[in-house]
Symmetry: C2
Subunit: 534 residues, 2 copies
């Protein structure tokens, strides 16, 4: 059976879902996170706006990405004091510095990376607690929220304010994202067998050899200890102060109504999940828009095809030596290259390479002349590549990027550049040549793309459906596992195991005593008989 063209069906389906969910309008409170997180959640927000819902986004006055006003939704700004703003700015710079270091200096072991990661998370926690404090100290805003008559909170799980406000306002919460302050939300809500579910920064796949399993286990417990000793207590203090409850923030996360997970298993390793986890990976993919005339010509007139190259938005400049090597590698290609680059002019740049300040990534990836995507492995880019079936050469910088590309590599759809800080022109050239010349990469990526698109409900519609579901039914309590209410020693059956082991020991002891007594009696008799006979 051949794959079929389903464009007609899918678009009709979208219309139907639109009809289906065109219920009475509701009021949604959005608790976002900066940067690419905001860009992503805004896609869902705009879908909800189009369905007629009234949205209110909460932002701290120091926010860089979240605009102060919008025509489509309300924005509620939490004023931050000068001092708060300054310390926030310092912390942000520290975090950006770390990212730059991570990207371009030699990596240590997974454990030193993990330790640095935890330190940055601590910095993030400081930033976050300052903002949450400012919110919960602001009676005017809190009153406004209380009287806001919201139906649901749409929260980014990285921002603890969401779960705290859900508790404070007694509202159901839909999470949109994947990362809690310290970890993949999966680890908090679903059993995660460490024998095949890799921990972040472990750099292993779901098929581990013995030493990798040991590493994965040790890393997991390191994170667990660090996050429950260094990160969550800071939030629990806020909870105690402002919500007047002893429920831990971690337990609050487990009680969210729906988790809209930015994950698709054509990309992520299959793993246990829960009934209230909804997978919407690739929801950001959209139909391409026409290119600007100049770029369109550049693409159309490329005889051998084009390499699209972008390292995302956060790392804006590259160290000169690395940029020069990359440019030299690209110059050797017969293909054309379009490179999002802002930095000093490069003497090694080839005639085939066009640098631009910004590039319409999604539109370029959908162009038939695009042969390979040279990318840092951020989630958005990865899903756009899957969406359009373009194989990847991965140049990971920090965070989950190495592991994102590792997942594509495992499926034969990417080449992963290791040791990017020592990259040479030859490395870049060979990797791109390999992916273009060996058709297996393109074939694997096209297969992933087909699987990704072959879904009964497109991910964006699914996200809208479940948000509205929670609004219609004021929650999704029927999908929450009872296990989340158990203390950990009961969840892991430690009490049961202890009692059963004690019982077993007691039985063994009693049997031992009994048989010893029996033996003694018998032997005693024999002895006596022997004595009698003698």
């Amino acid at each position: 059976m051949a794959s079929i063209d389903k464009t007609f069906g899918v678009s009709l389906l979208t219309c139907v879902l639109l009809l289906l969910t065109c219920a009475q309008a509701g009021k949604i409170l959005v608790i976002p996170v900066e940067g690419s997180h905001w860009i992503n959640i805004k896609i869902l927000m705009m879908e909800l706006v189009q369905k007629g819902h009234e949205l209110t986004a909460l932002r701290p006055s120091t926010s860089l990405y979240i605009e102060e006003t919008s025509e489509d939704y309300k924005v509620l700004t939490v004023p931050m004091s000068m001092q708060q703003a300054t310390s926030r700015k310092e912390l942000e710079e520290y975090a950006l510095n770390w990212i730059f270091q991570q990207a371009f200096t030699k990596h240590g072991s997974s454990f030193s990376v993990a330790w640095e990661f935890i330190q940055v998370l601590q910095t993030g926690t400081q930033m976050s607690t300052v903002a949450i404090g400012a919110l919960f100290e602001n009676q005017e805003i809190l009153e406004g929220l209380k009287n806001g008559d919201f139906d649901v909170i749409l929260g980014d799980p990285y921002n603890v304010a969401g779960v705290m406000l859900a508790h404070y306002l007694k509202l159901p919460i839909v999470f949109f994202g994947r990362w809690m302050p310290t970890e993949d939300i999966h680890f908090a809500i679903a059993p995660s067998p460490l024998s095949y579910v890799p921990v972040i920064n472990s750099r292993v796949t779901d098929r581990m050899v013995f030493s990798e399993r040991i590493k994965n286990v040790l890393l997991y417990y390191s994170y667990l200890a660090a996050s429950h000793l260094l990160i969550y207590p800071a939030y629990d203090k806020l909870v105690q102060r402002y919500l007047n409850t002893d429920v831990s923030v971690f337990d609050m996360y487990k009680k969210a109504d729906i988790y809209l997970m930015k994950v698709d298993f054509v990309f992520e390793f299959p793993r246990p999940t829960m009934p209230n986890a909804v997978y919407i990976g690739g929801f950001q993919c959209k139909a391409p828009k026409p290119l600007a005339k100049e770029i369109q010509d550049f693409m159309d007139n490329s005889e051998h095809g084009v390499v699209v190259f972008s390292l995302g938005t956060i790392v804006r400049t590259l160290p000169l030596n690395i940029a020069r090597e990359i440019a030299a590698g690209l110059a050797q290609l017969k293909e054309r290259v379009i490179w999002r680059y802002s930095g000093e002019p490069l003497d090694t740049l080839g005639n085939n390479t066009k640098t631009v300040d910004w590039l319409p990534q999604n539109d370029l990836l959908s162009h038939p002349q695009t042969k390979v995507f040279l990318a840092h492995g951020g989630e958005n880019g990865i899903y756009e590549a899957i969406c359009h079936g373009v194989p990847v050469v991965g140049f990971p910088l920090f965070g989950d990027q190495y592991e994102n590309i590792l997942r594509l590599k495992t499926r034969g759809a990417a080449v992963l550049l290791e040791n990017t800080q020592d990259i040479t022109a030859q490395d870049i050239f060979s990797a791109i040549r390999l992916v273009i010349d060996d058709p297996s990469y393109s074939r694997a990526m096209k297969h992933l793309s087909e699987l990704h698109h072959d879904t009964p409900v497109p991910p964006r519609d699914l996200a809208v459906f479940w948000t509205e579901f929670v609004m219609r039914h004021r929650g999704a309590g029927h999908l929450q596992a009872a296990g989340h209410d158990l203390p950990w020693y009961q969840y892991y059956l430690l009490d049961v195991t202890a009692v059963l082991l004690l019982g077993l020991l007691l039985c063994s002891y009693l049997m031992y005593t009994f048989f010893r007594a029996v033996l003694r009696t018998c032997c005693g008799r024999k002895d006596r008989r022997k004595k009698k006979r003698s």
Copy 2:
């Protein structure tokens, strides 16, 4: 936000899914199971036939339910010898006897029920191995299947022939159902924390007290031991003989492509699941058909409403004393009763009660005058009750029926009759009165019904979609967890734990030796100094 009417959307959605999946026709080999299993899988089969696929169902010549021919699909009959047929008949009678005993004699503890259950499963295993043997000994049929050019196997997981044929014919397999030969398929494929996931026959909910958790754990390991000592070895022998491989049948089950689970979490307790488990609970619900004139009048003219009463298809007669008590209880009601009853005439039968040989259950439950469903708690009836929002009085007979009703009771939508073998007229009367007079039961069931219907894709369309998905892509390997390939000691990290513990012990020992040496040296010196001084 109020709930909305979605009939238009849902039917349009169905049309779209029809369009969406109207791909090239494929060939499907169906490996069904007798009785209600067959009635259920036939619903999906007919949907697939309507989509233009060519289906072939495999049946043993001794089958009672699966017809020898059909206009809609092919039927391939595996001839069974007279001896096989006779022994099969004897075994069937034994199983039916057990069911009757289970239903109408006093129950022992969960453990004795479990032990009897295992014995019946053993009987089922004998029946099943005979049929599988007859299939794999029949070269003509095997050749026919090999040349059948099938795209996929649609199997009932209770029938081991499905997974064996998938291996033999190198075909992907879609399972439709929930029960493996010995257990809920969930336990084989997904982590199942025993602290809140009840084992079959445990008669506990997902919120257990300490003693219930102990019972659940002990029951689980009893089943585990019994099934891996008494049931699976019989199948493994067949696998070794006919498939010439050492892969165990249990491992084959874990590698199915898609599990179409006849489960909906408005009914089942939420629990961990896997990416290739698709929930299609309630897929059997359909729009009601018009009633026969006589029954329609009976329903329409009921002043106070109607009780619909059926104990399913397997238990065809009731012991006379029980039937008399039930009839007497029903006679006291002001409501009318329609009762599916085949047995001796009852002197206690009231004027309000109409007995029939067979009743159009789905159509009756959808009638607005139906106030309560007196039912044995079989899966079909439960989902039809949920579908039409009719509260239940449960009269469980055997198998999972007690626990099905327990789940509805937990959600406030049913009353569960305990000790059905000692039932009195008063018990029946009070239970029905309670469910009719206390509006909370009806409200709870209507809420479950709303939740159940509020889904982005109706369950039957979902089942068709995923079957065709597997046909389009020749499997769904990308959704299979890598953990299924690990031996159990690696899956449970026993090797890692052992090495880490050994390491810890070694470190402790080395530190102890070191500090003892240091202490000795220091004390030694002191002693010498003391000696010097003295």
